[in-house]
């Protein structure tokens, strides 16, 4: 399927949004945490909506460190996948068609994650953005930061190392 040279902006937008939605739809765990993703061009922002089930300390109350770590990890993983998907879709061709049909490249595997808990998570929505530090053929390094009310006061950050999907 070849695309017309001057595609209407709505068609481009619709294709990108559909790909992102399909990507999010596959993971039960993303739904379990209730994570939502906003897209501005190729930039993604993740939201972890507050819910009583992600409380780790009911007395304070504060968010669960594990839920925060999970949120950071999946934001980083999604950023890496989305960057690959974006590049393939921009390139066009059979691989781009596959994505439009809901067949995505394999997910990168997390080798390790190091989470810094900078402040306790307040009982309200949390946001995160990830930045790819390096994306190589075999390995990738992604940094991710989460905040709540004030962008310049992150409450958690993480560095995640990935093993890129191998073709063999």
């Amino acid at each position: 399927m070849s695309r017309p040279r001057n595609e209407p902006v709505q068609a481009v937008k619709q294709r990108r949004d559909a790909a992102l939605a399909a990507l999010l739809d596959v993971s039960a765990y993303v739904k379990f945490l209730g994570v939502q993703i906003d897209r501005r061009g190729n930039e993604l922002s993740a939201t972890l909506p507050f819910d009583s089930k992600i409380i780790g300390n009911p007395i304070k109350p504060a968010l669960h460190g594990g839920a925060i770590g999970a949120f950071l990890e999946l934001t980083a993983q999604l950023e890496l996948m989305w960057t690959t998907v974006w590049d393939v879709m921009e390139e066009g061709g059979p691989d781009a068609d596959a994505i439009e049909e809901g067949r995505f490249p394999n997910w990168s595997k997390v080798i390790n994650i190091t989470v810094d808990y900078l402040r306790s998570g307040l009982p309200r929505d949390a946001y995160a953005r990830a930045r790819i530090v390096r994306r190589g053929r075999r390995y990738a390094t992604v940094q991710v930061e989460a905040w709540q009310d004030e962008r310049e006061k992150p409450f958690a950050s993480a560095t995640v190392h990935f093993l890129m999907p191998q073709d063999d």
């Binding site: 993971s27 780790g56 999970a70 080798i111 390790n112 994650i113």
Partner: protein, 138 residues
């Protein structure tokens, strides 16, 4: 009190299997809602993060020298292999050193055999004064 009082632990179905001085063994049963990749049925890494974090914090509070609560300063998790679909996941954490302010904890997550870990963790935790409860920080 440890697990039933913590909503997110309840939500994950987390249970305390065994406790000792500065040691906790906890588990999360396999559940479809925790799956990260539907093609393989493998539980999402985030579940291991939650389990190892909770288990490590519990180990700190079970240390004889711990007086009050604790909060995670940092936690590193190395994923050794995917967890087996359908299997309950266990985590054993040991607080091997505690000072006035900082506790050091190692953890291992496994499914079928403790000798073949799914993930290992290293974390540092705060040591809060007597009278505080878990997670209390100023």
């Amino acid at each position: 009190m440890i697990s039933s009082a913590i909503p997110h632990n309840v939500e994950l179905g987390m249970e305390v299997v065994e406790v000792g001085d500065g040691m906790a063994l906890m588990a999360v049963p396999y559940a479809d809602k925790l799956v990260g990749d539907p093609h393989t049925g493998v539980v999402h890494g985030g579940v291991l993060t939650a389990l190892l974090d909770a288990c490590s914090g519990t180990a700190v509070m079970l240390h004889p020298k711990a007086q009050g609560g604790t909060a995670t300063i940092d936690l590193r998790i190395d994923y050794m292999r995917p967890a087996k679909p359908g299997e309950k996941i266990f985590a054993r954490a040991t607080c091997f050193r505690i000072t006035r302010n900082v506790a050091f904890v190692r953890g291992t997550a496994f499914d079928v055999s403790e000798e073949e870990p799914v993930a290992i963790s290293t974390g540092t935790f705060t040591v809060e004064p007597r009278g505080t409860r878990f997670g209390d920080t100023k």
